[in-house]
C-alpha cells in the first residue's frame, strides 16, 4: 500500500513537469472525464473474463488432476498428456488459435468473449491441475485410511476430508493464478475484446498520449490485483480458523 501511494505521488509530481499531459485524463475537464470513464469501462469485461475463466480452469484443473493421482497408468497418462500439451502453448497463441482456428475445426461460431474465456481457462487449467495434484498429494495417507475406516466413499473422502485440507494448503498458489489470469486477460485485446487494455489502446490511437493513458492502465491493474491479494489473504485467515 505504501509503495502504491509513493508511486501515485511520484506520478503526480511528474505530471507537473512539462513532459506529462495529464489533461487527457483530467476528471475536472469534460473530455478528460469522458476519457477516464472510457478507460474504466473496460473493467467490466476484464473482471468478467478473468473470473469466468478462473472458475472454469479450477474445475477443469481438478478434473484433470484426479486421474493424475490414480494408480492406473492409463489414467495417469491422460493427465500427463493434457498437462504437457496445454502447458506448451503460449497464451497468446492459444487465444489466436481458439478464436480463428477452433470455429473452423469444430464448425461452430464463437464470440470474442467466449474465445477469450476458453483460451485463458485452457491455458490455466494445466497449471491448476499441477497445483491440485501437489496439494492433494501433500495430504497424509492416514487421512485416507481414517476415511476408509468410517466407510466413506471415494467421492465423500475427497469432498469432506481431502479437498478441504488440500485447498487450504494451495490457496496462496490459487491466488497467484487468479492474479496471473487478470494480467493475461489483457492479451485477449488482440482479438478485439473490449477490456481494459483494448480500451487504452483505442484511446491512445485517438489522443496520442500513450504515456499517461498506459500509466492509468498500469494503475488499473495494480488496484485490481491489490484487491484480489487482500481478498485471498482474508480467505486464508478465515480458513485457518481451526489452527488457532
Amino acid at each position: 500500500m505504501k509503495l502504491f501511494l509513493l508511486m501515485m505521488t511520484a506520478l503526480l509530481l511528474g505530471g507537473c513537469s512539462g513532459d506529462w499531459g495529464w489533461y487527457v485524463v483530467n476528471p475536472a475537464t469534460k473530455s478528460g472525464m469522458n476519457n477516464l470513464s472510457f478507460l474504466l469501462s473496460g473493467l467490466y469485461y476484464t473482471i468478467l473474463l478473468s473470473v469466468t475463466a478462473i472458475i472454469i480452469s479450477v474445475v477443469v484443473g481438478l478434473l484433470v488432476a484426479l486421474p493424475g493421482l490414480s494408480k492406473n497408468p492409463f489414467l495417469r497418462g491422460i493427465n500427463r498428456v493434457y498437462v504437457e500439451i496445454v502447458r506448451a502453448v503460449p497464451i497468446l497463441v492459444m487465444i489466436l488459435w481458439v478464436y480463428y482456428g477452433l470455429p473452423q475445426v469444430a464448425d461452430i461460431s464463437i464470440t470474442v468473449f467466449w474465445a477469450g474465456v476458453i483460451a485463458l481457462a485452457l491455458s490455466d487449467s494445466a497449471f491448476e491441475a499441477e497445483i491440485f495434484r501437489a496439494g492433494i498429494q501433500s495430504i497424509d495417507k492416514g487421512q485416507y485410511e481414517a476415511s476408509h475406516s468410517i466407510s466413506l466413499s471415494y467421492t465423500d473422502t475427497m469432498r469432506f476430508v481431502i479437498l478441504p485440507q488440500a485447498i487450504k494448503r494451495i490457496l496462496p498458489a490459487l491466488g497467484n493464478q487468479l492474479v496471473y489470469m487478470l494480467k493475461m486477460s489483457s492479451l485477449v485485446s488482440v482479438i478485439g475484446m473490449q477490456e481494459l487494455t483494448r480500451k487504452a489502446n483505442e484511446l491512445v490511437v485517438t489522443e496520442y498520449r500513450p504515456l499517461e493513458i498506459y500509466t492509468i492502465l498500469v494503475l488499473e491493474y495494480l488496484v485490481l490485483i491489490l484487491i484480489v491479494s487482500a481478498g485471498v489473504r482474508w480467505l486464508e485467515r478465515r480458513m485457518n480458523a481451526d489452527e488457532k
Binding site: D140, E145, A146, H148, F160, Q165, D242, E243
Partner: protein
C-alpha cells in the same frame, strides 16, 4: 472370556502378504470369537500392523482367506463395503480430520455412510463422547486437544459407526507417557462391555488385564499363541521369551 464360543467372528486362514519381494505375512492362521479380546505383540516389522490392516482391507492379502462375520474378503467392492462398516479401526497417529471439529469428526461417517440425520448423528456422537469422558470438547478442533484426548476422540469416532469389531494399531505408541493411561482405561471399559477387539500393543499391563488370547509375531509369522497366564509365565518359544524379557524389563 469369550461371550459366545460358537463360530468365529474373524477367521484368518493361511494368509500371506508381500510388499514387492518382502514377505510381511507368512501363512498366518488366527480365529477370533465374538467378544474375544486378542492382543498382538512382537518386534517392529514383525507384521502385526499388516495383519490387522488386512482385516479391514487397508492392505490386500495375496494368499489365503479372511472371513469376517461370514463374509469372505475379496477384492470386490461389495465385500469391501460390507466389512468396512463392521470393523472399526484406531490408528497410532489418531488420524483425526484436522479441519473439522470433534463433533464433525464423529458425525461425518454416520451421516454420509450410514444415512443418519444430523440430529441422530449428534446424539450418538454425544453418547460416545461421554463414554470416552470428553463431552466438553465437542466443539473444539483436534489441534486444541492433548494427544490422549485426540486418541479418545478417535476411539469415539470409530464407535459412532457401531462396529462389531474394533482394531487398535498401537494406539498408545505416539502418546506422552502421562496420557497412556486415560486411553487404556477407555479401551479397558470397551473390552468389559463385550466388544470384540484385536489390539496391537506393547502395553503388557493392559494385555494381562483384558486379553483372552495373546499372539506373538516375528518375521511375519505367528510364533506363539496362548492365553495370557501361560503366555507371560511359560511361553514355548525362545524368541517370545527374549521379547518379553526385553519389554518387561526396560
Amino acid at each position: 472370556m469369550p461371550v459366545d464360543p460358537q463360530s468365529p467372528l474373524i477367521s484368518i486362514r493361511d494368509v500371506s502378504k508381500f510388499f514387492d519381494d518382502f514377505q510381511a505375512l507368512k501363512d498366518v492362521d488366527l480365529e477370533v470369537k465374538p467378544g474375544e479380546k486378542v492382543v498382538v505383540c512382537g518386534p517392529s516389522g514383525s507384521g502385526k500392523s499388516t495383519l490387522i490392516r488386512c482385516i479391514n482391507q487397508l492392505e490386500k492379502h495375496e494368499k489365503g482367506s479372511i472371513i469376517v462375520d461370514g463374509i469372505e474378503l475379496t477384492s470386490s467392492k461389495a465385500s469391501l463395503n460390507a466389512i468396512r462398516s463392521k470393523v472399526g479401526m484406531v490408528f497410532q497417529q489418531f488420524n483425526l480430520f484436522p479441519h473439522l471439529t470433534v463433533m464433525d469428526n464423529l458425525t461425518l461417517g454416520p451421516i454420509r455412510s450410514k444415512g443418519l440425520s444430523k440430529q441422530q448423528a449428534d446424539d450418538m456422537a454425544m453418547k460416545y463422547l461421554e463414554r470416552v469422558r470428553i463431552p466438553e470438547q465437542a466443539n473444539k478442533y483436534p489441534r486444541q486437544l492433548s494427544g490422549g484426548q485426540q486418541q479418545r476422540v478417535a476411539i469415539a469416532r470409530s464407535l459412532c459407526m457401531e462396529p462389531e469389531i474394533m482394531l487398535f494399531d498401537e494406539p498408545t505408541s505416539a502418546l506422552d507417557p502421562e496420557m497412556i493411561n486415560e486411553v487404556l482405561e477407555v479401551m479397558t471399559e470397551l473390552a468389559e462391555s463385550g466388544m470384540t477387539m484385536i489390539c496391537v500393543t506393547h502395553e503388557m499391563g493392559f494385555a494381562r488385564k483384558v486379553a483372552d488370547k495373546m499372539v506373538f509375531m516375528d518375521h511375519g509369522e505367528i510364533v506363539e499363541m496362548s492365553e495370557p497366564g501361560k503366555f507371560f509365565t511359560e511361553p514355548d518359544s525362545q524368541r517370545c521369551q527374549d521379547f518379553l524379557q526385553q519389554i518387561l524389563h526396560h
